[in-house]
């Protein structure tokens, strides 16, 4: 790009690398100083193709090929008008046909083919679909904002995660250092023989290692169990109501194919509790009664007595 020269003053581009090339609607380039010179004289025609120009239409050239610059400008203008999206169409085929239409328009305008007719087509389209265009414009800006938010959130998340891992590592190093220091202090001060102190220290060190290992295994969850990622913005549309049959509780019936199991309340009266250890006050504080264990044992015994018939 730097070896392109301004078509008018040719030498100036090589001599002054900071000079910028500008492009206008006809697709020809001019360096900045030549642009100023052109409009000082009052005349506003392109040097190469003699089309009338306005100073405000000159933009800094981004691409090496000025026709690409021209095309991108035209495309942006066209897309402002033809901004329908894929959900506006009933079938993929229609959407693709629409896209092809847009391409045709851009192509014609860029290569100066049937410019007038194309412009008329564009105006007609704009008039017909004015409200659709407005709606889509609003939707686009909203989507872009949402996207920006998401990206920002992601960046913040990354930063946070990085800081956290750094802090974690710092903490681990410090813990190790403290442990070593504690060992030295103990060896100095305490009267317990050195071998026992060393064993204790080794124990503590392995405990620390295990802790670190466990922490490494803890995976930061990023999604809820239902699959919704955390931090996702909530849709405010109402959730569709799904009518289902309500659950009603039916107690289970156990068939022992033999004598019925006595009820929990009857056990004391029937004398079963005499064969069971009485509950201590500590047990009863937690809600345990000897009847519970007894009932359980009786249920087990009864259910194994007779095989089911048939």
């Amino acid at each position: 790009m730097d070896d392109q020269g301004c078509p008018r003053c040719k030498t100036t581009k090589y001599r002054n690398p900071s000079l910028k090339l500008m492009v206008n609607v006809c697709g020809h380039t001019l360096c900045e100083s030549c642009v100023d010179m052109l409009f000082v004289r009052g005349s506003g025609n392109c040097v190469q193709c003699d089309t009338p120009l306005r100073k405000s239409n000159f933009r800094v050239q981004l691409f090496e090929d000025p026709t690409v610059d021209k095309e991108v400008e035209i495309r942006k203008k066209v897309l402002k008008i033809y901004n329908k999206r894929d959900f506006d169409f009933s079938s993929l085929r229609e959407y693709n046909d629409y896209l092809e239409q847009v391409e045709e328009i851009v192509y014609n305008l860029t290569n100066n083919i049937e410019v007038e007719r194309t412009k008329q087509i564009m105006e007609a389209y704009q008039r017909e679909n004015r409200d659709v265009i407005q709606k889509n414009k609003a939707k686009l800006t909203r989507e872009q904002e949402e996207l920006e938010e998401l990206l920002l959130l992601e960046q913040q998340d990354n930063e946070q995660r990085r800081l956290e891992t750094l802090q974690e590592e710092q903490r681990q190093l410090q813990a190790k250092r403290k442990n070593k220091q504690a060992l030295l202090d103990e060896l100095e001060r305490s009267h317990v023989p050195a071998t026992i102190l060393l064993a204790q220290h080794k124990d503590r060190a392995t405990q620390l290692e295990n802790q670190i290992e466990k922490q490494k295994q803890v995976v930061k969850t990023t999604i809820f169990s239902t699959g919704i990622p955390m931090g996702q913005t909530v849709l405010l549309q109402p959730v569709a109501r799904i009518a289902e049959v309500l659950y009603s509780y039916k107690p289970i019936e156990i068939n022992t194919y033999g004598p019925p199991v006595p009820e929990l309340e009857q056990l004391g009266r029937l004398g079963y509790l005499n064969h069971v250890r009485a509950a201590q006050p500590q047990d009863m504080a937690g809600g345990y009664t000897s009847g519970l264990a007894c009932h359980r044992a009786i249920q087990d015994a009864f259910s194994g007595l007779f095989p089911p018939l048939g």
């Binding site: 691409f63 090496e64 690409v68 391409e103 990354n158």
Partner: protein, 681 residues
């Protein structure tokens, strides 16, 4: 011999078998029974290939409906040839023993002239080819499309498989590529204009097809997306090409815009790193190119080249690369990063802008293989630590096992030399690389070794630059002169022809007289492919720990990704990578049970537990506490003792210990011992 492995009749074409081969086949059979994936580490030179082949062929014969095909993937053509040799032997044994004519068909695909075998692949039982035909999405489409689900895939020498996966999905674009692509696009444009005048019907036909959403038989089902994206629903894959790139002119204009955008991106003066979605957003803002047309770029280009009947596709490699890049960047949102560097780190004054589109997640390329095929076996001699591979490749193996060698006499002697005779620590750490004392100590080590080790010594350095620095210092210190009095010195260079000449002469020198020393680099061609059997490699010296260049931005991005996704610490991964290369290098010296060799790790960091623990089990076994952190004198003493022992004639009393006949194999105690060989992880 005919073996019975848990009820399966296996024909093994030799009369003797190593216990670890039996153990390996046992684990393999269990993996196949479970219809799952496996990671198996078995030391090199212990007959891994024949064990694999005989067991899987036997399984195929016994259960022809369960396992229809065996796909054996290897790295280099010599390895493929070796496999074919073993297979031939096995087939001869079968026809001799079973008496029946075997109707097995095995195919090996190695070079371009052996590729066009599509109809035969459908009938083949065993296919042998290189990794890339299965992993690289661009090639996999052409070659591996028809492979059935009920196949067993074996990746041999797979310790570098994550790098292969990453390379197959990464693209580097330089200014030159863009200029060539520009020329390609202009050629396309002129060809289109010409065809419009002479035979416009072809273009119209293509246009009609694209409108209808029909796809050509071969361009159909863009399998590079399908194989890489089994998660995409079928409707998305069957979608028609978007309307904005239907006609040839529009597509050419589209490519022009894309190229211009890339050129503008390369014109920066500082490093830029961004993710794929950010890149797409920028593209759509600057040149109004959306994601969907980008995704269909590669397919559309192929269709266009076909319609224009371009004879020489190779001329269009630049534009094909760009279209592949477009497809990749628009398909994947996670696991890739884009780094644009205005110049290389080491030459900051030369403007050389490069766009690196690098894959950070090896599991993306290999996921379709794991999901599509029933059993995938990853095997190599150096896969430690075994639990890292399932994590970075994101799969769940049913077996992970590491095997050791049963030896009649201990034929390897690994030693860690940490200090010189002046007690200065020897290390290739970055801060101490210029230290005069360290370099002198390394030279001393080499000198002493050259005096006591017979025949050939292979020495590995961590990088070419490091090697050149050290050798230059040695020359100044006069060490090289002293070494040359004992042995000749050969050196590996980045140039392939020079290296093969050096290798040839080294081998000649080892055959006659006092032998030679080969100085090479840990990630070079020598360490990856060449075996130093018997007298060609009696000692291997690893100078330093072969870490990759840790300042590379691509590597940093990859480490960050691994930390975020897989909770693998950066240090752990770098150490794992360095140790697997070190193990690969020292494993070059031992290629069989009668072979012996010294393995010298010349860096004090090898004595640390975290590095020692990452060596394969069959090396760690022989690394005792008494061989850690030695000085050069102590090393020389131990080496002399070892070499003298090894030089005694080997009385071939391996029988019963490390070599078994069928009867010995079936004894109870032997089976118990075998069960202990495999170490489950």
């Amino acid at each position: 011999m005919k073996l019975n492995i848990e009820g399966l009749l296996v024909y093994f074409p030799y009369d003797y078998i190593y216990p670890e081969q039996y153990s390996y086949m046992l684990e393999l059979k269990r993996t196949l029974d479970a219809k799952g994936h496996g990671v198996l580490e078995m030391p090199s030179g212990t007959g891994k290939t024949i064990s694999l082949l005989s067991l899987i062929v036997a399984y195929q014969r016994a259960y022809p409906l369960e396992v229809t095909k065996l796909i054996y993937c290897s790295r280099t053509v010599p390895e493929i040839e070796k496999v074919v040799e073993e297979l031939r032997k096995l087939m001869e044994y079968y026809s001799k023993e079973a008496g029946e004519k075997n109707n097995f068909l095995a195919l090996a695909l190695s070079s371009r002239k052996n590729l066009c075998v599509h109809p035969e692949i459908v009938h083949a039982n065993i296919i042998v080819y290189s990794y890339h035909y299965l992993l690289d999405p661009k090639i996999a489409d052409l070659v591996s499309k028809e492979l059935a689900k009920k196949s067993v895939v074996v990746f041999d020498e797979a310790h570098n498989i994550d790098n292969v996966c990453i390379d197959s999905m990464s693209v580097n674009i330089t200014r030159r590529t863009l200029d060539r692509s520009q020329a390609n696009v202009e050629t396309l444009q002129s060809t289109i204009l010409k065809i419009k005048e002479t035979d416009a019907a072809k273009l119209k036909e293509e246009y009609r097809r694209l409108v209808e959403g029909l796809k050509e038989a071969n361009v159909a089902r863009e399998t590079d997306i399908y194989m890489s994206n089994p998660v995409l629903p079928d409707e998305v894959l069957q979608e028609a090409v978007p309307g904005s790139i239907r006609t040839a002119e529009h597509f050419v204009g589209f490519m022009k815009r894309f190229l211009e955008y890339l050129k503008a991106r390369l014109r920066i003066h500082h490093v830029v790193q961004e993710s794929a979605p950010q890149f797409l957003k920028d593209i759509s803002e600057k040149v109004c190119i959306d994601r969907k047309p980008l995704r269909f770029c590669a397919e559309r280009l192929r269709s266009l080249l076909r319609t224009l009947e371009i004879a020489d596709i190779a001329d269009f490699s630049a534009i094909t690369l760009i279209s592949n890049f477009a497809t990749l960047v628009s398909t994947y949102s996670k696991g890739f990063t884009i780094i644009i560097e205005p110049f290389e780190d080491r030459t900051p004054t030369i403007a050389n802008p490069v766009l690196h589109f690098s894959c950070m997640d090896p599991s993306i390329a290999i996921k379709p293989v794991f999901e599509r095929f029933q059993s995938v076996i990853i095997t190599s001699g150096t896969l430690s630590p075994l639990d890292i591979y399932p994590r970075i490749l994101d799969f769940h193996p049913v077996t992970t096992a590491s095997f050791t060698m049963t030896l009649a006499r201990t034929c390897l002697c690994p030693l860690v030399v940490g200090r010189g005779n002046d007690q200065v620590a020897m290390t290739s750490k970055f801060e101490t690389r210029e230290d005069f004392a360290v370099i002198r100590n390394y030279g001393n080590l080499l000198l002493e070794m050259s005096a006591i080790v017979p025949d050939g010594i292979v020495a590995f350095f961590t990088s070419y630059i490091y090697m050149e620095n050290i050798v230059a210092s040695w020359y100044e210190q006069g060490i090289l002169e002293n070494v040359q009095r004992n042995k000749l010195i050969f050196i590996e260079t980045p140039d392939a022809a020079e290296t093969s000449m050096a290798l040839e002469k080294y081998q000649e020198a080892c055959e006659n007289g006092r032998g030679a020393i080969l100085l090479s680099v840990a990630r070079g061609k020598v360490s990856e492919g060449i075996d130093f059997v018997h007298h060609f490699g009696r000692a291997v010296i690893m100078f330093g720990v072969p870490y990759v260049y840790t300042q590379s931005r691509i590597l940093k991005a990859r480490l960050e990704y691994l930390r975020d996704q897989f909770q693998i610490r950066e240090n752990d991964f770098l150490t794992f990578d360095a140790m697997r290369h070190a193990a690969q290098c020292v494993g070059r010296a031992i290629r069989g049970k009668t072979d012996y060799g010294l393995m010298i790790f010349a860096d004090k960091r090898y004595a640390r537990a975290d590095k020692r623990g990452k060596l394969p089990r069959w090396i760690q076994e022989h690394l005792t506490d008494g061989s850690l952190n030695l000085t050069i004198d102590e090393t020389v003493q131990l080496s002399k003792h070892f070499l003298r022992q090894m030089a005694q004639p080997f009385k071939q009393d391996q029988l019963g210990l490390s070599l078994l006949t069928l009867e010995q194999l079936q004894s109870e105690e032997m089976l118990q011992k075998i069960a202990q060989i495999a170490h489950q992880v």
